[in-house]
């Protein structure tokens, strides 16, 4: 059922992975989409695929670490589509933010991970607010079990993701009066690099899978995107400030 037709969504970091899967899901539900990302070629490629769902896709290349990019992306969206209903803050640089012990975490990694995840999210939320206010809206931020659990070597990535959850709860309470809902998805899917790693380490596959209640690794389009579509749509109109762990049954709060 197309329950997002006539709606407009901005999705950051939509060129690949979970972001691309969610964008595809929103498009299948009928939403027009603005995709942002750093690599304009990758974005263009993603946009071509998503527009096959019969919706319009706008791409805005830029870096979420810069406030100016957030302002530009929102302005371009309003100019093109005339409104904003859904904001998905998915962009997140990981490089070294996960897998580095706290003791050796360097400034460059700290800045890259924190600024792309937490600051990128707040920049887009602030830029989107005036437009989301018009008809009410839904903001979907991305957290991680690495933060909730406090994984070893999760360092700045864990801190960033929990920062996003904290910010989301405050925004949920501040912006509830505008009928803007703010919820968080903590997805578990295999990235290309982890698929490569697990291919070479079959024992690890068994160990990791045994920790997932549903015993399989999530797929961005089949497993994560429907949760985002639910949070973006009126079906979830009474949910705000919530964290949905879409991880096949790992983190249970």
């Amino acid at each position: 059922m197309k329950d997002l037709s006539k709606k407009v969504a901005i999705l950051t970091g939509g060129g690949q992975g979970v972001g691309f899967g969610i964008a595809m899901g929103l498009a299948n539900a009928g939403a027009n989409i603005t995709l942002t990302g750093r690599d304009s070629e990758k974005l263009q490629h993603a946009a071509e695929k998503i527009s096959k769902a019969g919706v319009e896709v706008l791409t805005v290349a830029g870096n979420v670490r810069q406030r100016e990019h957030a302002n530009q992306a929102v302005e371009a969206t309003i100019e093109r589509f005339g409104r904003l209903d859904v904001l998905v803050n998915n962009a997140q640089t990981v490089d070294g933010g996960y897998g580095t012990p706290l003791a050796t975490l360097g400034d460059e990694t700290i800045a890259a991970v924190l600024e792309s995840g937490l600051l990128g999210t707040i920049y887009f939320m602030q830029a989107g607010l005036p437009h989301l206010k018009v008809n009410g809206g839904s903001i979907i931020n991305l957290g991680s079990r690495i933060g909730i659990f406090g994984e070893v070597n999760g360092g700045i990535y864990a801190a960033t993701k929990e920062g996003i959850r904290g910010l989301s709860r405050v925004a949920a309470r501040e912006w509830g009066k505008f009928n803007i809902r703010v919820n968080v998805i903590c997805p578990a899917v295999l990235s290309e690099s982890s698929i490569e790693f697990l291919d070479k380490n079959p024992e690890e596959v068994k160990r990791y899978r045994s920790q997932i209640a549903l015993e399989y690794f999530g797929d961005p389009l089949a497993d994560i995107a429907p949760v985002a579509v639910f949070l973006a749509s009126a079906e979830s109109r009474y949910l705000t400030g919530q964290t949905l762990n879409a991880d096949g049954g790992q983190m249970m709060l």
Partner: protein
Amino acid sequence: MKSLEGKVALITGGGQGIGMAIARAMAEVGASVVITGRTADKLIAAAKKIRKWGGGEVLSVIGDVRNRRDVEHAVAATVEKFGRVDILVNNAQIMMQAGQSIEDTSDEEMMATLQSGLLGTLYFMQGVFPHMQQNGGSIINFASRHGVVGDAGMGVYAMTKEAIRGLSRVAAREWGPHNVRVNVISPVAASAASLEFVRQYPEKARHYLSQMALGRPGNAYRDIAPIAVFLGGNQSRYLTGQILNADGGQVML
């Protein structure tokens, strides 16, 4: 295709309130529905309405969730009539008199609350599990903000509801390999009792609403039921062991 076409949903305490609203919503998206309850008149009237709204088949089974034999009978009647059970909604709960301190709560009240909520939930989960193993299934249990927050004067109700959450997480992990998902909704919906409260204590009611991010009491059919439909269907296939606080933005975990 409707999202629950061909599915069979068993809803305890389906004669009124949230239970009836969920039964209606599931029937409207194609599910065959079984409702249970203690009062024949109420149940028959509810079944008639749900049939009219949803158009599908509705079976009502009289019984008390505190009685294991009644539970076994309800499950057997469901399987006999429809040949399967895909969704179980454990909604039945005898409500304690609010505002009783722990030390003043009688054994009778304690047992009624605990047996209807916790044991009724457990009995039904054990009852349906053999029938869910083949095709997988979705179990939806009910918690309460009174338990999560620990509201004064709600002792045995709070303990019952938190116990249901504990049980749900264990079941999510034990039954995940059989693709049986177990999630919890913690709802706030206007009821006859809460409307009476608003009439008697308008100041307290205003204060309560001011703590809610979305600032309005929930409606069982419009606000709570769509979440149960989401959890009952395939959209939520990668969610298990989760709690969704459908409370307009009060509890945020």
